[in-house]
Structure formats: C-alpha cells, structure tokens
Symmetry: C2
Subunit: 197 residues, 2 copies
Amino acid sequence: MKLYDLDVSGNCYKVRLLCALLDVPVELISVDFLAGAHKRSPLIDLNVFGQLPVLDDGEVILRDSQAILVYIARKVGSEAWLPTDAPSLALVTQWLMVAENEIARGPNDARLHDKFGYKLDVVKARENARRILTIMDEHLETREWLAIDRPTVADIACMPYVALGWEGGVPLDPYPAVAAWVERIKKLPRFIPMPGL
Amino acid sequence: MKLYDLDVSGNCYKVRLLCALLDVPVELISVDFLAGAHKRSPLIDLNVFGQLPVLDDGEVILRDSQAILVYIARKVGSEAWLPTDAPSLALVTQWLMVAENEIARGPNDARLHDKFGYKLDVVKARENARRILTIMDEHLETREWLAIDRPTVADIACMPYVALGWEGGVPLDPYPAVAAWVERIKKLPRFIPMPGL
C-alpha cells in the first residue's frame, strides 16, 4: 500500500497510526502540499477532490481518511478494529461521522486558521470545538473508548484533531476525560506520534 | 424499530426510504421540530447532539442518519445494501462521508437557508454544492450507482439533499448524469417520495 502523505496533516496521521498499530507496512509518499501538488496531475487523477491522504493499493484507490481507515481495518485487522455486527458497526460509524463533521468543523478548522492561515470563521470553529468536546467529555467520563468496549477506528479517526486542538486555541484542560482518552491511545502498543502531538 | 422523525428532513427521509426499500416496518414518531422538542427531554436524553433522526431499537439507540442506514442495512439486508468486504465497504464509506460533509455543507445548507431561514453563508453553500455536483456528475457519467455496481446505502445517503437542491437554488439541470441517477433511485421497487422530491 502507498499512502500519499503530509506529515502535519492529522488526516494523514490517522492512517499512519492505524498502520503502525496493526504493524502493516505502508510506503509513504510525501506530497509537496505548499506547492499544490495535490491539486495537479498525477495526484488529482487519483483523487478528484484534491485532498490528502490518498491510498493506492493497486486496484483500490481511496480518498477520505475515514474510508481509508475502514479499508485497512477490514483488510488487515479482521473484526478487531472494525466489528461488522450491526450495532457495533453503526456505533463506530457514528463516531467516524463525528470525525468527518463536528471535529472537522471544530478543532480542525480552528487549527487550519491559527496554524496555516486559512480564511474561515475561527470564532464559530472554536464554538463548534467546545460543543463537541463537551459532548465527548461527558461520553468518556463513563467509557474508556468512544464506540464500544475496546479501541476501534472510531478512536483513531477522532483523536488527532482533538489532541491537536491546542494549535487552534482549543486546549484540552477543560475536558479531563477527553485528555485521559488521548493518553490511553498514546499508550497502545506500537503507537507513533506526529508533529504537535 | 422506532424512528423519531420529521417529514421535511432529508436525513429522516433517508431512513424511511431504506426501510421502505427493504420492506422493514418502522414506527414513525413525528417530532415537533418548530417547538424545539428535539432539544428537550425526552429526545435530548436519546441524542445529546439535539438532532434528528434518532433510531430506537430497544437496546440500540442511534443518532446520525448515515450510521442509522448502516445499522438497518446490516441488521436486515445482509450484504445487499452494505457489503462488508474491505474494498466495497470502504467505497461505500467514502460516499457516506460525502453525504456527511460535502453534501451537507453544499445543497443541504443552501436549502436550510432558503427554505427554513437558517443564517449561514448561502453563497459559499452554493459554491460547495456546485463543486460536489460537478464531481458527482463526472463520476456518474460512466456508472449507474455511486459506490459499486448496485445500489447501496451510499446512494440512499447522498440522494435526498441532492434531489432537494432546487429548494436552495441548486437545480440539477447542469448535472444530467446526477439527475438520471436520481431518477434511477426513484424507479427502485417500493421507492417512497418525500415533500419536495
């Protein structure tokens, strides 16, 4: 598997992290994001959305970090990181959607503004961040993992931008259960970090 | 299964539509959205996000329309509407994410502004809508269905707000392949409509 990658991207990191946890080799191809290489051939031909990461596994080309996590978990990890019985798969999917929606429009947007200069409504992004972090903190007060009773791709999908929130003015101090959950993920065997985390 | 429902919500309609296509009985509980019933007990206790739909299947309570589709497809439909081999599940997931992200921030937001008076950047919403519809139109020029070679929950998740886009100033005339795909879904056995569609 080849991963078109950017070291400071939390979405790319999710994929690197799952590969590390599963002990799966992946060839990292660093993309010159600042030069806009993801918006031009050959990358735009692999992903018309013009975003990273992109996974190239021969006949299967995938975009969207959540979908890539699902692919790798199903291909390599059997049921361990993505159980497919109806309730478990749905509970994991709920949190994959939170990664795609509330976390993206919250701590991720705030970081894009502060760290990378994106023009967006950072006040709204921080409000969104506080809202989802409050929900997650209450949820994690009585649970170790987001979706079910063990770590899944839901945790991998949601953690990076939550843990990187401090780079967008959203530190985790007011959310002790969330902070403890991040530390729990950091203690998983074969965990790898990323810049800022 | 009980569905806390709103007739004009495309997210609720997705769930009603999948149940109809699968010929699964579901008890619809109409929620007084204008009175804010989804923000108060007892509904807020079922879904802390304060959004519709919510599915109550006894021991399993679910939020997020995409996650609910996944649940019902897995519980009732075996592999038909949600295949679980790694490539197929990942390809379906890619489009569930488009429903949660690009379509929500595109035609759905434009409709929320025009039809329901939501205060949001409708110019940006229409730009987002044109961007994702252009991608979908090119994608569907050579395919009948979004994810794989048969209809899946990906099509059910993405169709409603695309087909309702005209209520937000985003008609489908410039996207003939998308319009043909909507018509294809409308011809599925046991298809049911919703207001505006």
